[in-house]
Symmetry: C2
Subunit: 218 residues, 2 copies
């Protein structure tokens, strides 16, 4: 029972801190997205494309989470946004304390959109509130269509699924329609976008959704 | 400090049980592989192809790990091997106790090769010994080439990397050579295979490696 008690107290402490972060973000009128995905689903590519399309009109800041390396924050900075890299050194998810420390380094008065790219892991990040307005699962079509059924927590807690790498469909044994159907089976409330970050297709609807959500925060 | 102590005692208990499992597998002359990968990298497809190629000469048993569903054990049984499905119900890795309970249901005297397909997660499973002879990371080329750098633990602890989905290379912004190079940078001792389970290419070397390793156990 000891383990369970410790785990509960850690989650409760995280929830309290995430609640404070959410209040802080709301005061500043910032839309906050928590991106969750398997490794290599295309979270960073989606952020790069979002900055390219919205960066001129929207002030975007990015918190990057990875076990090791600064590769992703370097990509985001090259794309034109401020970014802080968190290295969990093997840790399997971000928590509210890590995010709180990172955002202290941003000017939140000059921020419309904060994107948090979680550690590449479809399991552990789902349970950790980071003060986000919405959780966005990025699902690569190359991973197959059954992931929502096998890893339902992330999809259940999310408001949005971005199906990425749809350009690969002709070369894969699965279809975008199957993946969409399985995601909606697990969570019928999901908003689903179908994109190819590599070929810059399907991104207009995603960016319009962000614009609409930012407007509700002002 | 409480959390760290609990975690240490859990890992130590797991290591002791994994040691017992390893002795049991050795007594029976069984080669045991622990397959680790991100969700959707193709672990189950690799197992299906391995059964198709080796199943007539080699007695194969498979322990399947997933948070939910029996989809993978159903695929393995259709491919022609006995399989036990473990559902972790959200848990992010298999442990030695789960594997011990599952293999109790196999006739180990009639087993040459035991494949354990871990939960789809490139982080948490790496730290948990299951009594395997070798850890095999299955890396999908569609995930990009930087995963060994960002998620080094799995690659450091593995003896083998199977790069899967190499048929997608013409449609991706990365190359098999880059992924191979990054894997060997993290762990120069790795044996690397390059395969496409979808197109059944590159599997001869992988199956020969298994045959050679089985021969050393008899």
């Amino acid at each position: 029972m000891k383990t369970i008690e410790v785990r509960k107290s850690i989650t409760a402490a995280n929830d309290a801190l995430a609640h404070e972060l959410r209040s802080q973000f709301t005061r500043h009128g910032i839309l906050v997205l928590n991106l969750i995905a398997s490794p290599g689903a295309g979270k960073t590519a989606l952020i790069e494309k979002t900055i390219a399309r919205l960066g001129a009109a929207v002030s975007i800041k990015v918190v990057e989470g990875d076990p090791y390396t600064h590769l992703d924050s370097q990509r985001v900075i090259r794309a034109g946004a401020q970014s802080i890299q968190i290295n969990t050194e093997g840790g399997c998810h971000l928590d509210a304390q890590m995010v709180g420390r990172a955002v202290d380094r941003f000017d939140l008065d000059q921020t419309d959109l904060l994107i948090i790219e979680n550690v590449g892991n479809l399991l552990c990040p789902a349970a950790w509130d980071l003060g986000q307005d919405a959780t966005v699962v990025v699902a690569s079509l190359a991973e197959g269509a059954d992931k929502p059924l096998k890893y339902p927590e992330a999809f259940t807690r999310a408001q949005v699924v971005v199906i990425n790498k749809i350009d690969l469909e002709p070369h894969l044994p699965v279809t975008t329609a199957e993946l969409r159907r399985n995601a909606l089976t697990v969570n019928p409330e999901l908003t689903v976008f179908e994109v190819s970050c590599l070929h810059s297709t399907g991104l207009d609807s995603w960016c319009q959704w962000i614009r609409d959500r930012i407007a509700t925060k002002k």
